[in-house]
Symmetry: C2
Subunit: 367 residues, 2 copies
DNA sequence: AAAGTAAAAGAGACCGGTCTCATATTCGAA
DNA sequence: TTCGAATATGAGACCGGTCTCTTTTACTTT
């Protein structure tokens, strides 16, 4: 019965039409599910299609309809649990709504991101979800929107881009944990991020091109300033791009005579490395060093002590972005939405008053 | 200067040709980078393309060439660090070789997987990398290969499918850790996996459809049998599909009078949950309970105690699969490759002799 | 039974590229 | 100078669908 192996040359509507004894147009109507056809013909065509094992060619379909049924997603690094969870949110919505996801990693490099956008546009994705590497460099994104395809920004916004954006309230979260640390008496608080600057030094928030991180640093510095602490810019460290880099930076930091009494890690990959270095150097958390990490990664609840984190609704970040995009794709228009999802500080046990908190509380009384 | 906003209707080769004053065919030659053209014409066309901001339509190109430049990837769950790391390996190779990745999560459900394959085939991906949910149910995969598009199996093989396959040597790894546990005196060793059976009970390895996991269980049971332990099938627990399920199963297991003295977790998500439950119940690892987990997730080195794991070369698993696929795409043919990558047991501190090791060694003397 | 209308089917253009084949041009060798 | 080969360009079919427009068929209506 199977002596007729499917030829590699694929079966087309024309083949089905011929077999069913109808015109190509009619067969296409049945197969494509549009227009009006009689029941008799529908059955004949369906039977012929089954007999021939007809497989529609979506490419050809996209050609004429102009819709490819795909959405392009550009994230920094799918390996990072933050992005993999967000992407899960995106793919779930995509599947439910009949879209398919093309995924590209930018490696947080603008050049790669540009190439990615170009590729996706050339492949005629219906829309884009991007987590831009640099807020300041978004010409390629602007161009993408100009081509008429909707764009949604994920986790990082851009003033220059008037498009749907889904963010976590990073500044607020940073302010909260900074206040907490200050109240406990910490004065030497380091903020550590993967974002880098040309000379690997931090001077002002404007040096940071990743929106979410910049807002956090602004919140951190703002609260410090309110509390009368000046020059906290020196405590912001950039360039923790790999675990190895992070290891080096944290080790240097913790070995210096004026070592920080608390560290804020900008993501869970960094947080993990800080934890490791602390242990390596024989420092006890939280007695010798307080640690707060962004992203409630699974491991943070299971260490000794468990780590206090900023919980971001990462899955919902992706989910919301995808829903917004699908909405646009289905014709919703109007002003760009800026959705800001609430974060939450999960207090665990990696934060305590610093050992030298006396000096610190004196400082507190100064102003 | 920018008073001429790009019309949404895209610029085609025909438009460029007209502007450059050449035929469509010639313009296409320049733009497509094929055939021979004079320098003068090339410059003219290039200039016209730039002036018009021509963006090639890959869809149309794929239409005629039959190659879409995309590879379809179907994994269980991108949120699982195992898959996100493997996918990272795949996407890296894809980018380097000029391919783009379409990602679909199967949720380990064969129905979803089938739909995914159909979608990807309809979108005319050039090739597929799949981590099949069930080894026994691969008709749809067979069909995919029959359509002429190469398929590479990731982490899970299938005897029924004679295609390139990349696996970790799961059986060997399971045998190693089982021997270790037995040598320490453990007799009540539980194996816990997410794979499920219709009635949520395990009787024999054939109940397990996920190849990698079945091989591990076979290794586990085989070594136990060698050591004279019978009926260890009862110690294999299935259905740890979510952290909640896992929590319930592990709690029941550890509260039973005949509680296991050691648990082997089939992935890091399960391992984490076992760790949490152990702590909840006030059990000390490794004194009260030994724990070994598959997958060297980042958190495993940072707990107290750190967890002994089976390190799989996950990134290389994905990378190798992608390289194999790209090879096929570039015309390599010949017998199907079965690549088995070595795993490694990373000894940390979550394994020790059981508290009641005396009774255990007696048992050991029995046969 | 004739006319009028709605439903069904067919013919063929079209989407935006590629590619074959025919024609025109250029160049070197005889 | 002239011919032949090599190189450049043009015309148009083609990929596999969708979709408009026209013709044919079926069903009301009076």
């Amino acid at each position: 019965m199977d002596q007729n192996p499917t030829r590699s040359a694929s079966v087309t509507v024309a083949d089905v039409a011929r077999k069913a004894g109808v015109s190509k147009a009619t067969a296409a109507r049945v197969l494509g599910g549009y227009g009006t056809v009689s029941d008799r013909v529908r059955d004949a065509v369906t039977a012929a299609a089954r007999a021939l094992d007809y497989q529609p060619n979506e490419l050809a379909r996209s050609m004429t309809t102009g819709r490819s049924g795909t959405i392009g997603v550009v994230v920094g690094d799918i390996e990072n649990p933050f992005f993999s969870l967000a992407v899960r949110g995106i793919t779930d919505v995509a599947r439910q709504t009949g879209f398919t996801v093309v995924l590209i990693n930018s490696g947080e490099d603008v050049g790669t991101e540009k190439a990615a956008i170009r590729t996706l546009l050339a492949k005629r994705v219906d829309g884009l979800i991007v987590s831009p590497a640099k807020e300041s460099d978004v010409g390629h994104l602007k161009e993408a929107t100009r081509s008429g395809r909707p764009l949604v920004l994920l986790d990082r916004g851009s003033e220059a881009l008037n498009v749907d954006t889904v963010l976590a309230d990073d500044r607020h979260a940073a302010e909260g944990i900074t206040r907490r640390l200050l109240a406990l008496g910490h004065r030497r608080i380091a903020y550590l991020t993967a974002c880098d600057t040309p000379d690997h030094c931090f001077r002002a928030p404007d040096d940071i091109n990743t929106g979410s991180v910049r807002r956090r640093i602004e919140g951190f510095l703002g609260v410090c300033r309110e509390a009368g602490l000046q020059g906290m810019e020196d405590w912001v460290h950039v360039g923790a791009v790999t675990p190895e880099h992070t290891h080096r930076i944290v080790t240097a930091m913790l070995k210096s005579p004026q070592r920080p009494t608390a560290i804020i890690a900008s993501d869970s990959v960094i947080g993990l490395e800080v934890f490791k270095v602390g242990r390596e150097l024989g420092l006890t958390i939280p007695d010798d060093l307080s640690l707060v990490s962004f992203h409630d990664a699974d491991w943070t609840s299971v260490t000794t002590p468990p780590v206090t984190v900023v919980r971001q609704p990462v899955y919902r970040l992706g989910e919301t972005a995808a829903k917004l995009l699908v909405g646009r794709l289905n014709g919703t228009d109007g002003e760009a939405n800026r959705v800001v999802l609430r974060t939450e500080v999960v207090e665990r046990a990696s934060v305590a008053a610093p050992a030298d908190s006396v000096g610190a509380s004196e400082l507190h009384r100064e102003p």
